[in-house]
């Protein structure tokens, strides 16, 4: 007879495991960071300007807007959902904030405006969560529809860039602590908070469980409706932060900033999340991978621009990279499950 206890528990897990186990559990995350390094190295070879600190800081700053909204998107996708309304929400918060600030200075202008416009975003998130949990509308349709409604509201308010941000608010995007932009530090803190929620709290565990198997989660006593309220409201909140960063950078609120023109934050954020290794359908992944996904997409733009690749090629290459990343994850998972 074998001693049952010796086969039951592998004690290496208690201390977070040895390197090999760590490597296996985080294989996808490690892979994606390696890809990020390869792209960065390629950039450095192709263009001498790339590794200049000015350029790298610029890349980081560019990554903040997509990064914030993608952190929210990650949490929604982990729960088994999808949020297509974030692009319109960004536009909404951007135009209303800038319009209501109207270039007036002072914290007494900024705080009420931000509270108001952020609350508007939270209402959108709440609406999404109710459509998905109470009315059982699939997230794709629910958030596509609310996004369309929100974009309509935005275009009724203004068709052209409107208002002007309060001068102090420019500090959010332009200020630095030492050489590091404040916005980048802010983003790192947000990623830390999201990571913390997902890995250390009961709510975080429930988000993974819901995405993994909603039915079994419900039967284990998880109140799915509450989990969904959190994830959709959180996603909208992140979209609002993205918008506030964008107007700080541009100085004005553009009704198309979130998604009608060049950069569609809704689809781009989903792409970043998927490139970062989170599974569409939920249950596996996390924000650390998403950060890599965001950096990869941003770096690509940067390198292409430095090298002078036309935007048409940029689109196609980006598409190919998204397909490549997701295909690699798919293959890894299939082989491992055998």
């Amino acid at each position: 007879m074998e001693d049952p206890l010796s086969v039951l528990i592998d004690n290496t897990e208690r201390r977070g495991g040895n390197f090999r186990r760590y490597f296996r559990n985080h294989f996808e995350t490690i892979t994606i960071y390696l890809v990020l390094l390869v792209i960065a190295a390629t950039g450095a070879v192709l263009s001498p300007d790339f590794i200049k600190s000015q350029n790298l800081l610029n890349v980081l700053l560019q990554a903040v807007a997509l990064g914030l909204v993608s952190v929210g998107q990650t949490v929604v996708i982990l729960s088994g959902g999808l949020d297509l309304s974030v692009g319109a929400t960004i536009s909404m918060v951007a135009v209303y904030s800038s319009g209501l600030m109207g270039g007036r200075p002072g914290i007494e202008v900024i705080i009420p405006v931000i509270l108001l416009t952020t609350s508007m975003a939270l209402v959108v998130g709440l609406l999404n969560s109710q459509l998905v949990s109470k009315f059982r509308i699939t997230p794709f349709i629910a958030t596509l529809a609310t996004g369309s409604m929100v974009q309509g509201v935005v275009l009724m308010y203004t068709k052209r860039p409107k208002g002007l941000v309060s001068p102090e608010w420019k500090y959010f995007a332009e200020g630095t602590i030492g050489p590091i932009p404040i916005a980048v530090i802010f983003f790192i803190i947000i990623v830390g908070i999201a990571f913390f929620i997902l890995s250390k709290t009961v709510l975080g565990r429930y988000i993974y469980a819901t995405g993994g198997n909603e039915n079994a989660s419900r039967l284990s006593g998880i109140r799915i409706d509450r989990v969904l309220i959190f994830v959709y409201v959180f996603s909208s909140f992140m979209a609002a932060l993205s918008a506030l960063f964008l107007i700080s950078r541009m100085g004005i609120g553009d009704p198309q900033v979130g998604g009608l023109t060049y950069q569609r934050y809704d689809l781009e954020s989903i792409a970043a999340v998927l490139v970062g290794g989170t599974v569409l359908g939920g249950g596996a992944g996390g924000v650390i991978g998403t950060v890599a996904g965001v950096l990869i997409l941003t770096l690509l733009n940067n390198v292409f621009n430095l090298v002078g690749v036309s935007t048409f090629y940029q689109w196609s290459i980006k598409g190919a990279i998204i397909i490549g990343a997701v295909a690699i994850y798919r293959m890894q998972r299939t082989t491992r499950s055998l």
Binding site: P4, L5, V7, L8, I9, D10, T12, E13, R14, G17, R21, N25, K200, T201, V202, L203, G204, R205, Y206, Y208, A209, G212, N213, N215, A216, S217, R218, L219, S220, G221, I222, R223, G283, A284, S337
Partner: protein
């Protein structure tokens, strides 16, 4: 020439060491309705899947019209005239009936253009031959389950099937629909088709069959013309004489019932449950026997708040509860080990640790945070106690064996200290060793004061584990027994025929 349309000679088949069929011979004539009966795990479906080309036999021969055949796929079996109709239909809901009947064999003009009129006419003709009144232009999605079944049968007939196998066709049908099915089966017979009919409901055997074959534990018991058997001999053949009572944990000596944990009065949920009354006391195991579709799982779902109910009342620990939810049920000491552990019991891509911890997280949390050390200790302890074999707590549950997965589900609930725990088919699809361990665990739970409700299709399991047995039939409780008073025969008879049928000698 053997003269039989189908002959399965000395078929053996095993799956991963489990002998599903052992030297079974089965013969069927043209124009014969041949019913195949036996308890769960008797090998009925396996035998028919061999005939339909789904499985290859390990040993033995399949003969069709006297010629040995080697079906390597269901498609090939179908081409040679053997069609199987499963409980799950293979229809495309958004196509009409005619298109479904002739799917892949549509009459067409050159360049693949459909002859729509001919398609409808041919479908009409097939349906007519079956005596079925369904408009071939109608979408399959708008048909009832019974009508969809007719479309499946029409499809088989249009394939010029010589043999049609039906796997528990009546499980999902109501009484009137059942009459229609019988008519169609007789129509098939009149067309010279051999119909092999798997059923749990013995009453149908006597209505329909020309012959009946009984399987038990993968072995052939006998094949007899229907006029040579009656209900009690048939039940006797299905049960056999072997008993494996000795594997069940002993019942405790003292037998005073504890406090009433749950009482259900007059509970109805149209059209599934009718006037259910039951009460469960702490320290006892109540077994619910019943066939698939008898409402046993639905009853458990109502108790756990997964499913709404119409009328009646549920009293939990002395308080009447009106709107139950799983969350609320768990807060009040209930646990539920569901029938389908992969879909309802586990989050397959999460680890053993996370699955085990899931239901009891809120009791360990501090200000919303996971207390990882406590979690690790509690999960380790319960996993060790239950003897779950896993390479580590971080191992995905998807990669454990069925028995170990089931233990993880149970472990999850043990951490909630349930006062009432519902088991739905607790030992389905797990190996014998794990079964014995789960049985012991269920008894231990009761001995420690929990009230246990156990639903099972395995009658020996019901008898071996329960203190009290309720038999369900068509949404009603047909009868209640003390376990020592009940016999396998009583239970099987009641589950098959209901309580209204006189006991037969």
């Amino acid at each position: 020439m053997s003269g039989y349309i189908v002959e399965l000679r000395e078929i053996s088949k095993s799956f991963g060491g489990v002998q599903a069929l052992d030297n079974v011979t089965f013969r069927c004539n043209t124009g014969e309705v041949h019913t195949l009966v036996g308890q769960n795990g008797a090998g009925k479906s396996t035998l028919m899947k061999i005939l339909a080309g789904v499985y290859l036999p390990d040993r033995g021969q399949v003969l069709l019209e006297g010629t040995p055949v080697h079906f390597t796929s269901p498609y090939e079996a179908q081409r040679l005239g053997v069609s199987i109709i499963y409980q799950e239909f293979n229809l495309i809901p958004d196509l009409n009936v005619a298109a479904n009947v002739f799917l892949g064999r549509e009459p067409r003009h050159p360049f693949g253009i459909l002859k729509s009129k001919e398609l409808i006419e041919k479908a009409q003709d097939v349906l007519h031959r079956l005596g079925v009144d369904i408009n071939p232009r109608i979408m399959v999605s708008s048909l009832s389950v019974a009508q969809q079944q007719m479309v499946e049968i029409a499809k088989a007939l249009s394939l010029r099937a010589k043999v049609v196998i039906m796997d528990e066709p009546s499980a999902t049908l109501g009484t009137r629909e059942l009459d229609n099915l019988f008519k169609v089966v007789k129509a098939l017979k009149a067309q010279g088709v051999a119909v092999i009919y798997i059923s749990h409901r013995l009453e149908e055997v006597f209505t329909l069959a020309d012959k009946v074959t009984v399987l038990k534990d993968g072995k052939l018991v006998d094949t007899l013309p229907i006029d040579r058997v009656n209900r009690s001999t048939l039940v006797q053949m299905m049960i056999g004489s072997k008993s494996f009572m000795e594997k069940f944990p002993p019942r405790p000596e003292k037998k005073e019932t504890g406090r009433e944990v749950l009482r259900i009065e007059n509970l109805s949920s149209h059209p599934i449950l009718h006037s259910i009354n039951l009460s469960i006391h702490s320290g006892e195991i109540v077994g619910i026997a019943g066939l698939m579709g008898s409402g046993r799982t639905e009853l458990a779902q109502v108790m756990f708040g997964v499913r709404h109910y119409g009328t009646g009342s549920i009293t939990l620990e002395g308080d009447i509860v009106r709107s139950l939810r799983p969350y609320f049920a768990i807060e009040n000491g209930m646990s539920y080990v569901p029938e389908d552990r992969k879909e309802e019991g586990l989050i397959m891509n999460l680890s053993v640790l996370k699955n085990t911890a899931l239901a009891s997280m809120r009791h360990r949390q501090r200000a919303g945070f996971i207390t990882k050390k406590e979690e690790y200790e509690q999960v380790t302890q319960v996993i060790e106690t239950l003897g779950v074999k896993t390479p580590g707590l971080g191992h995905e549950v998807a990669r454990l064996s069925g028995g170990n997965q089931q233990k993880v589900v149970v472990a999850k609930w043990l951490l909630c200290n349930p006062t009432l725990i519902i088991f739905d088919e607790p030992t389905r699809g797990i190996d014998v060793q794990a079964k014995v361990e789960i049985w012991k665990l269920i008894r231990d739970l009761a001995n420690r004061g929990a009230a246990v409700l156990m639903i099972s299709s395995e009658i020996p399991e019901i008898l071996g584990i329960s203190d009290r047995v309720l038999v369900m039939h068509k949404g009603k409780i047909a009868k209640e027994f003390r376990a020592e008073e009940a016999t396998e025969e009583d239970i099987l008879t009641l589950a098959s025929f209901g309580g209204s049928v006189e006991r037969l000698d």
